[in-house]
Point group: C2
Chain length 292, copies 2
DNA sequence: TTTTTGTCTTTTATCTACAATAGACAGTTT
DNA sequence: AAACTGTCTATTGTAGATAAAAGACAAAAA
């Protein structure tokens, strides 16, 4: 195989959902915009839908013939892009498995393990290396530096520098800046989740990311915003393998966020710094606790 | 061709220099350590040297038969690694050429231009993307974000944050820390160059990198140290295309470095911050001036 | 016993090929 | 006139193949 057709499969599945809601599909360019793919892919989707007798397609007319059934969908595991698969597989190995710092990483072995070509694995490792967890020895192997205490400390040191600065610039944003509306929505979600914390505490992780990303974005500095990718990936995978006291931890973090949001609203630099530092401190402790 | 044999050619050239200094070469493992390559490459070098009748090689005996001549060396352009070639070629396009922000980058075109395969270009672009000058649109092209004023401002903002913190930790290093010795050597070089500034001002660029890298390294934070790569590459290529007033600029920067070094030695946090800020400010101005 | 060499295997770096996807353009429909 | 479709071309993403380089191990030499 040359290229995976995951873009097609994923867009096809999403298109099935659109189809369930109408009696006829819109034009090809419009579908393309809606699904975020090119017309070529849209036409492949329409062709497939015609084959499955889901629609009758003649030029502009795309009449829905029947509702999609479960078996019309492509299985979820076929719609993930190869790089996502590699990422997940790799993170499982280094975070969950007994991966010792200093261990060598073998491109060929990794590729065979995941069932993919070496090119994709190699490109993944190059992209991933900016996260500081692995290092390349040219003409030789990669070295796993490991998800260690030092790593976590170095990561949080930079994070704190960046976030304090971003929070300060957030507080200085013009009152009509759209970020304030985003902040409103995020704050509302905090209240919703807190009101039903026992059932919804798992939604924290995603909300946390959204909130901090919003703060970082207000720095208008690509290096600061890009750095948040590292935080995201670390926390994302990290939470998957460390679920002790998740409910309490998340509840506490939500409260801290609300204080932090209130401080931002006050636009008082001192309050902002205090609330930000307080939350970052407990975030750091949470991360460190789960390493040892 | 599969892999370029630039490692071999470069090591061969370096080995010729060793050969000029002795009457017999050492053992294979020792040569390997000296030149930083594997025994496989060493044996290829020895085989080639035998063919050229530079040495008589029988097991442990590697007797030098004649001195190397100019034509024994591989030409310099064949010893550069492919990624260096791609980097240079790419940087010339985006810094020197009329590369407009927003321009699309075409992997295939770039590869044909440089005379290499697409894989290498692709890997270069992935590695390079962390510098924030280009951005990938999946399944589509790369976008050049451009070496703009905003880029320079964002870069220097982070640089200043990192360097101020690194300078503070440098000043707090134990008196017997090896970094102080490195600092001595660097300071001495500053005096040497200043004493003969008219002839040696071009050496500033390399010394500047060495000095700031030393400071950043004392942060013991991989993210801070890695970030310095971006500074290095930007300043490196930047100086190549902007040489106006180089002598004066460099002389001034050298003086600022000396103040900065003296402040570090004083271990007084206030002095360090003042000297560091002052130098960073003029470095930023220099960079910004050359953009507009 | 320690180091070196001969030989062999494994892994990386790179090229080429090809399906998937994007995108351009002209002709057609509303 | 504006938007849409049919058709074609160009580019990306990925696999597979291969030379270069690294590295392992046993036999040989010091």
């Amino acid at each position: 195989m040359a290229k995976q057709n995951t873009v097609f499969k994923d867009a096809f599945n999403r298109c099935l959902k659109l189809l369930a809601e109408t009696s006829a599909l819109p034009s090809e360019p419009e579908l393309g915009t809606t699904l975020g793919v090119s017309r070529t892919t849209i036409r492949a989707i329409l062709t497939r839908m015609e084959e499955l007798q889901l629609i009758a397609w003649d030029k502009r007319a795309k009449v829905v013939l029947r509702q999609p059934k479960a078996e019309d969908y492509y299985p979820a595991e076929e719609t993930d892009s190869l790089s996502d698969i590699i990422e997940r597989s790799f993170m499982r190995r280094i975070l969950a498995g007994g991966a010792e710092p200093g261990m060598q990483i073998n491109e060929l072995e990794l590729a065979r393990d995941i069932g993919t070509g070496t090119t994709s694995v190699r490109e993944f490792l190059i992209r991933f290396s900016r996260f500081g967890l692995i290092e390349k020895r040219p003409n030789s192997h990669w070295i796993l530096k490991g998800f260690t205490r030092e790593f976590a400390l170095e990561l949080t040191e930079v994070r704190e520098m960046f976030e304090l600065r971003s929070a300060a610039s957030f507080a200085a944003l013009a009152p009509d800046h759209p970020a304030w509306n985003d902040l409103d929505r995020i704050e509302a979600l905090h209240h919703e989740i807190l009101a039903d914390i026992d059932n919804r505490y798992k939604e924290f992780s995603e909300l946390d990311e959204r909130f901090h990303l919003l703060v970082h974005t207000s720095s208008s500095n690509r290096f600061i915003v890009d750095f948040y990718d590292i935080i995201t990936i670390v926390f994302h995978y990290h939470y998957q393998w460390n679920k002790t006291n998740a409910r309490e931890r998340n509840a506490r973090a939500l409260e801290e966020h609300l204080d932090y949001i209130a401080a931002l609203r006050s636009r008082d630099p001192v309050k902002v710094e205090t609330a930000c530092r307080k939350h970052l401190k407990s975030a750091r402790e949470t991360l460190l606790q789960s390493i040892q």
